[in-house]
Every structure is written in C-alpha cells, then in structure tokens.
C-alpha cells in the first residue's frame, strides 16, 4: 500500500498535455533557470525530484545509486537547458535522461547486487503458515524480476504498475511500440512461468 502511495505522482509521468497554467509556470521556471536563478532551479527540483527518484529506483533498485543518478540527471539537464524547448513539457525530457543514463549504469554495474528490500509485511489476522507462503511467493517474484534484463523489467513495471501506455513507454525508451509489446509479452511469460512453477511445487 505504501509503495502504491509513493508511486501515485509517477502516474503523471509523460502526460503529454499539462494544464495551461502549469505549463506557463514551468516555462517561466525554465527561462529563469537559463538566467541562472537559483530559486527557480529549486522549484524545478521540488516539482520533479520525487518522480525522478522513483523512476531511478525502478531502474537501479539501489538507493545511493538512484540518488547519484538523479543528481547527475538534474545537473545534466541544467548544463543543456539551452537545448531544451520551453514550449514542451519538461518531464519527458528529464525522464529520458534518467532512463538512458540509468540503463547504462544498470548494465555497467550488473555484477553489483541490488539492495535487499524489506520482506513481506504480514497482514493482521493471517496465520503464520499463510504469511510464510505469501512471503515465499513474493521472494520468488523478486528473484524472477531481477532475472529479467533491466529494460524488460522497466517495461513491465511501467506498464503494469505505473499505468503507462505502450506508446508512452516506447517514447521514453526510444524504441518501437512493437519492441515494447514484445518485451512486455516475454516478461509476462517469464513471470507467469515462475509463479506457475511455484504453484506446481506447492501443490
């Protein structure tokens, strides 16, 4: 539930049309940053940092690495802010920087293990046996997910958890929609296979 709440702002991700007031405000912020306005850059950070960090965590699954990635992406955006067209929304541009750099980093540090995430938190009223079984299922899912190539894992997470369309993911990952569909199909197949194997073993 907690993770669902944390990811709520990410549903705004890549939304093509901003509210006009928000768009105008964002345009003003970008223009001020171009003139070196520190407060405007602070506003930009405040506006996009949670989403950026959430996206970076999805790619790298490591707090420190994700934070480094986000910092690097913000500084890169600042360096190249003159190349950005302020008439367009900022987030798609920013998210593309994060995804491109994040996938490169993810490939480079493939040996390094990802953070061990918290175990399944038991529901009140569930029996220890049920908790143990559910915990086992989720552990298997985590292992199956981590076995996926980073790009494929990101595709299934953005589609199933964040609610992005195929076209949005294709734009973000700079791929053809058919390629994204294929990644999604293979990822689902592998995850369902892992879950079915688990059911078979427990039966």
């Amino acid at each position: 539930m907690e993770s669902a709440q944390a990811s709520a702002p990410q549903r705004e991700f890549l939304r093509p049309v901003l509210l006009s007031d928000a768009a105008v405000e964002e345009q003003r912020i970008i223009e001020s940053i171009r003139d070196g306005n520190t407060a405007a850059f602070g506003q930009l950070i405040e506006r996009y940092l949670p989403r950026a960090l959430g996206l970076a965590m999805r790619i790298l699954r490591h707090h420190e690495d994700a934070e480094d990635l986000v910092q690097d992406a913000f500084l890169s955006a600042l360096k190249h802010i003159d190349d950005f067209d302020p008439a367009r929304p900022f987030w798609p541009w920013m998210s593309r920087i994060i995804v491109n750099r994040g996938l490169d980093l993810s490939a480079a540090r493939s040996i390094r293990s990802t953070e061990i995430l918290g175990d399944y938190v038991a529901d009140r009223g569930s029996s220890p046996a049920m908790d143990a079984e559910r915990s086992d299922i989720f552990a298997h899912v985590r292992v199956a997910m981590l076995a996926l190539p980073p790009r494929r894992r990101l595709v299934i997470e953005l589609f199933e958890l964040e609610g992005f369309s195929i076209a949005e993911i294709a734009r973000l990952l700079d791929s053809a929609p058919s390629t994204i569909r294929w990644h999604l199909h293979v990822a689902r197949h592998q995850l369902r296979g892992a879950l079915a194997h688990l059911h078979g073993a427990s039966a």
Partner: protein
Amino acid sequence: MSSADPRRDEALAHVLRESRLSAPVTPARVRALSERIAAAAAPLLAERAGAGEVRQRTVWDYAASWSGVLLPAGVLTALAAGLCLFVLSAQREPSAPKLSRSRIALMGAATNRVSSQNLIDFLVASDPVAARGSVR
C-alpha cells in the same frame, strides 16, 4: 492507454506491487537529495547568472541605446527617398518628339509629296528662319 495496447494483468500487477520491488522513498531522503543537488548546481547557476548579465549588456542594452537614434533616422531616410522618387517621376513626363518645320519639309521632298523646285518656297513658307540660313 490506447485500444491497441494489451490488457493489463491485474493479478500480476498485484503480485508485483506486493513484492515491494522498489523500496519506498522517504521524504527525508528526498529533502537531503534536494539540498545536495542544489549545492552541486550552485556553481553552474552562478556561471549562468554572470553570463546572462554580459549577454544583456551586449545585446539588449546595445539595441535599446541605438533604437532612439536609428529608428527616427530610418524613418527620415525612407521619407526622403520617397520624396526624391516622386520628384524624379514628375520631371520625366513622356513627351512626343518635336519635329522642326524644315525637317517636315525635307521629308515631304524625299517622299515626293513636294516637288524639288517648290522645296525652297515650301521651306521659306514653312520656316522663314531656316530658309534664310540655307540661302546664305
């Protein structure tokens, strides 16, 4: 989501969500990172602010200082050029070529409309000044 997209697998999404694949980001971490990014960006922003001042002096101030002179000068030049064109076009009225009477007489003789013996009389009658000059 477009109609061409595959249907979302709610059961799979539930399992993925419950598996806590990415740890939640705490507000404290976000705040600390925000301060870190702002500190790292400060030199870049200061550099931009300095460059911005120079750019304003060289482009906008320059244009503003000269616009007071160049705009009236441009308007006056355009008015003067228009006036010159108007005067010149008025002076160059197309005029029919003026033929002297002696020339008319000579053309008449050449085309046999006037006989040669009557030419002098014709010239005298048509242009007394020219005829006087030719007799001398």
